[in-house]
């Protein structure tokens, strides 16, 4: 059997903010991600770990935020996207990669109707007539399970609930049936009951449209439910990656383990939650060596030395921890 080429492969990606006077502030370094067609990968990490910047690199909007790719590669469907010019991105955005932005409650233009914005996404690809595009828009809204699609089409952002707006954003993202859908914390701004509906909608659409999915969340439980693989980020670096089951049953990085044991849904009633000691390393003040060592029980002299290795095979997954095999010590 020949090796399957992944749809998306991110290798050792480094992203920096450009500060005045040519100085740079790194926000992502050593991000690694591999995703096959029709598969779903979750990216998990605390805020400030670089998840959103990584996603922006995948859709080419880093410069808008004063950031840029410093090194590394982003191969998508046989095409190199790192450092690609706007012309290339125009063919990618919406068509090849759909994107549901973070807290997209403000993602709709308040002065335009839903119809105008959806039709725009639909007609961007081909030469549909206005009437056909309208019918297509109704079909899209029905696909994202919006009742009374005709009415919603005429509505503006402020007339819709948060859940509705998010469904419209999803409809716009899948309008051109992209090969890859990126959902950057698609449920953070919504209430809990709606979160579940939105997540199952995304999973359903992924199967209907044969899309690959990148789901970003700070909640491991969300990712375990809807993804095949998971990639854990800490302080701008990928620290562990592999199948969801492997990471949740036998993590090979102390940070992944800490994320797992600090989960509310895994704790026994009456038992205190185990919090991760210390504060998350913030951008601009990453420690030398492994970024997690100040908070890690396994840390020794070797951990504080630069350079640290990128992801290495460990059991069924990849881990960046040099003490991956000693992780069982933590269980005592």
């Amino acid at each position: 059997m020949s090796e399957i080429k992944p749809l998306l492969e991110v290798k050792d990606l480094c992203i920096s903010f450009r500060k005045g006077g040519g100085r740079k502030l790194p926000v992502v370094d050593a991000a690694n991600l591999s995703l096959n067609r029709r598969k779903a990968v979750g990216i998990v990490g605390e805020s400030g770990s670089g998840k959103t910047m990584l996603c922006r690199a995948l859709i080419g909007t880093l410069p808008r935020h004063g950031a840029g790719i410093v090194s590394g590669t982003v191969r998508f469907d046989g095409q190199e996207l790192a450092g690609a010019p706007e012309r290339v991105w125009r063919g990618i955005r919406g068509r090849e990669i759909g994107y549901i932005p973070q807290s997209s409650l403000a993602g709709l233009n308040p002065v335009l109707t839903v119809e105008t914005q959806l039709v725009e996404s639909i007609t961007a690809a081909g030469s549909l007539s206005r009437q056909q595009a309208r019918q297509e828009a109704v079909a899209l809204l029905e696909q994202v399970q919006i009742p009374r699609a005709q009415q919603v089409l005429q509505a503006r952002s402020h007339q819709l609930s948060g859940g509705m707006r998010q469904r419209v954003m999803i409809a716009a993202a899948i309008a051109q049936a992209p090969k890859l859908l990126i959902a950057d914390e698609p449920t953070t701004a919504l209430d809990v009951t709606i979160q579940r509906e939105i997540l199952s909608l995304i999973t359903q659409l992924r199967q209907e449209l044969n899309m690959a999915l990148i789901l970003v969340s700070h909640d491991l439980a969300v990712i375990e439910e809807s993804c095949d693989d998971v990639m854990v980020m800490y302080a701008g670096a990928s620290v562990e990656a592999g199948p969801v089951a492997a990471l949740s049953n036998a993590p090979r990085h102390p940070y992944t383990r800490a994320l797992r044991v600090s989960r509310v849904d895994r704790a026994a009633p009456g038992q205190d939650l185990e919090a991760i000691p210390g504060d998350a390393a913030s951008v601009g003040s990453w420690p030398a060596g492994c970024r997690f060592w100040p908070r890690c029980a396994l840390a020794d002299e070797d951990c504080r030395r630069d350079p640290q290795p990128a992801l290495m095979p460990a059991a069924q997954q990849l881990s960046a921890c040099i003490h991956a095999e000693r992780l069982s010590e933590l269980e005592q």
Partner: protein
């Protein structure tokens, strides 16, 4: 056959009365009323009255009192006001004390010139400020953005009587592209006389308006819906018009309505510099002569015009930006 009625007649009337456009219209009427009161009071606050000015220093007290009666400005302030309002209600603005001409006919003769000046000015403002503001927003980090910032500050700080004279020297005296002064009625020939005065006023208006537009575009461009549109693949004119310009226009249009009002006051200076026989020049003369009816008429009528213009700016805004409508 029964049709579903959405509430009783009284309910429907009440809902209609709460309609934002009607509410705004009611406000406009209230402002017009205040304007009428101010027009009446302000001119009477200035020491000296038309009788004293017309008769000169040597006139006796009796002569002045008799002359006041003749001019119809005798009696207490409230009784004068009563007469003024009841005449206004009949559409009678009175007669100019100086020229014995109907106030309304003077305004009808002079206002069109100032109106043409206003329209030309605002038209030029939009034509110049729109592209300038957009360019200043898109290229704000380049040399153009910095040059715009400095240039705008310098122009705003330059008084119109100075820039007006410089422009006359440049375009009328040197280049011979405009007359030095004067006016001839009739469109489009009058534009030849108006473009230079309009440009002078625009030296102040365009930088301010372009800056307002620039900062609201910059603000809009950091909105999430803008990035969302880029990510969806929206591009070209659709992107610039629908996602950058249209959501940013509200402050600019509100300012434009207000600017139309300020042009009327700039007109006073500009009409003197360019010797345009408009309402501004007439007003200055009328104040100097304490021509009560004429001052009242001009202030009230040109004020009404301003109220109308701002009302129109609000309507345009409501149409362009539904957020403005629900407020």
């Amino acid at each position: 056959m029964m049709t579903a009625s959405p509430g009783s007649l009284a309910d429907r009337t009440l809902r209609l009365l709460r309609h934002p456009v009607l509410r705004r219209l009611a406000q406009a009427f209230f402002v017009a009323f205040l304007l009428m009161v101010f027009a009446f009071l302000l001119i009477r606050l200035i020491p000296g009255d038309p009788a004293m000015i017309l008769l000169g220093d040597e006139a006796t007290e009796e002569d002045v009192i008799a002359y006041r009666k003749l001019l119809g400005i005798d009696g207490s302030i409230p009784s004068q006001f009563g007469r003024y309002v009841s005449n206004l209600a009949r559409g009678d603005f009175g007669v100019s004390i100086r020229s014995r001409e109907q106030v309304l006919s003077i305004v009808q003769k002079r206002l069109p010139i100032s109106l043409w000046l206003t329209v030309t000015t605002i038209f030029m403002t939009v034509l110049l400020a729109l592209p300038l503001g957009v360019a200043a927003a898109l290229y704000r980090r380049t040399w153009f953005g910095h040059a715009f910032q400095i240039g705008a500050s310098v122009l705003v700080a330059t008084p119109v009587f100075f820039s007006g004279l410089v422009l006359i020297l440049l375009f009328a005296v040197q280049a011979n592209l405009a007359p030095i002064a004067g006016y001839h009625a009739g469109f489009p020939a009058n534009l030849y006389y108006l473009w230079l005065p309009a440009l002078t006023i625009n030296f102040v208006l365009v930088p301010v308006l372009a800056r307002i537009l620039q900062s609201s575009i910059v603000e809009t461009s950091s909105e999430e819906f803008v990035e969302a549109a880029i990510i969806r693949g929206t591009q070209g004119w659709r992107f610039y018009w629908r996602y950058l310009l249209r959501p940013s226009l509200a402050p600019t249009i509100a300012a434009l309505g207000y600017f139309a009002a300020t042009v009327v006051s700039y007109a006073v200076i500009i009409e003197i510099i360019f010797n345009l026989p408009g309402i501004g020049m007439t007003l200055v003369d009328a104040v100097r002569n304490r021509d009560y009816p004429l001052v009242q008429g001009i202030v009230f009528l040109s004020g009404l015009l301003v109220v109308g213009l701002t009302f129109m700016a609000d309507l345009v805004n409501g149409w362009l930006d539904p957020r403005a409508k629900i407020r």
